[in-house]
Point group: C2
Chain length 123, copies 2
Amino acid sequence: MDHLSTTFQALADPTRRAILARLSNGAATVNELAAPFSMSLPAISKHLKVLERAQLISRGKEAQWRPCELKAAPLKEANAWTEQYRQFWEARFDRLDAYLQELQSNEKVVAPPKRKTNARNKK
Amino acid sequence: MDHLSTTFQALADPTRRAILARLSNGAATVNELAAPFSMSLPAISKHLKVLERAQLISRGKEAQWRPCELKAAPLKEANAWTEQYRQFWEARFDRLDAYLQELQSNEKVVAPPKRKTNARNKK
DNA sequence: CTTGTATTTAACCGAATGGTTTAATACGTT
DNA sequence: AACGTATTAAACCATTCGGTTAAATACAAG
């Protein structure tokens, strides 16, 4: 899976997002992270593995503890990806906006539209 | 599933992100959206259903066509969620930053750490 | 070396994903 | 009414996901 997909996938779970929120207060052990949840420790362990694979956390060793630390780099990328669409959620959808929209999207997002000529054009 | 999870889930697929990118150039029919991909039409249809459920697109009716339109509102929320962590990907990790980090995260993100007293503290 | 604590692994389960192929449906045109 | 085009629905399949319980591992302390 590509990096961005892995990141979004990891974020698509409330437990994992809560874990990241908790880690924004500083490093924590698996047990500490598990405490707020009503699920088994192995379940949390799996969530942590997903977060680790997505490089959203890193893990240390301290005796029998594996403290987790937040690593926000992928969030920066996710943020940048959504940022690309800011114009659309801020759009007022008048003529000028539509024009600027088209200008910018042709530059930044994807290949030009090149709509195929088809029956709809008769309308 | 909660709204944010649904959004991230929908974004966790390169085909769906490409469809959104295409739609940032303006509305398109299912066939037009499917053209760049080497997968079957029903597969695209399913992806569109996922995007629609996540309210990332809306769909119209025009004769036998179901034109899709980008709806960026959920992207605004996703963007806002990641924004919460900006300080972490911008952090220089010196003493002052750490202090400000703690201040802000106690206010905005989640309950205080309250580390349990345990063996590690003896170290 | 035994016990207790922290964590992971293994095996299992049901539901969801992402794809397929083969119909079915909806509509415009002839 | 029959045909062609656009799209979805149904049935199927392999894989992944998110959870469980029970067992294994790693380490510190007595």
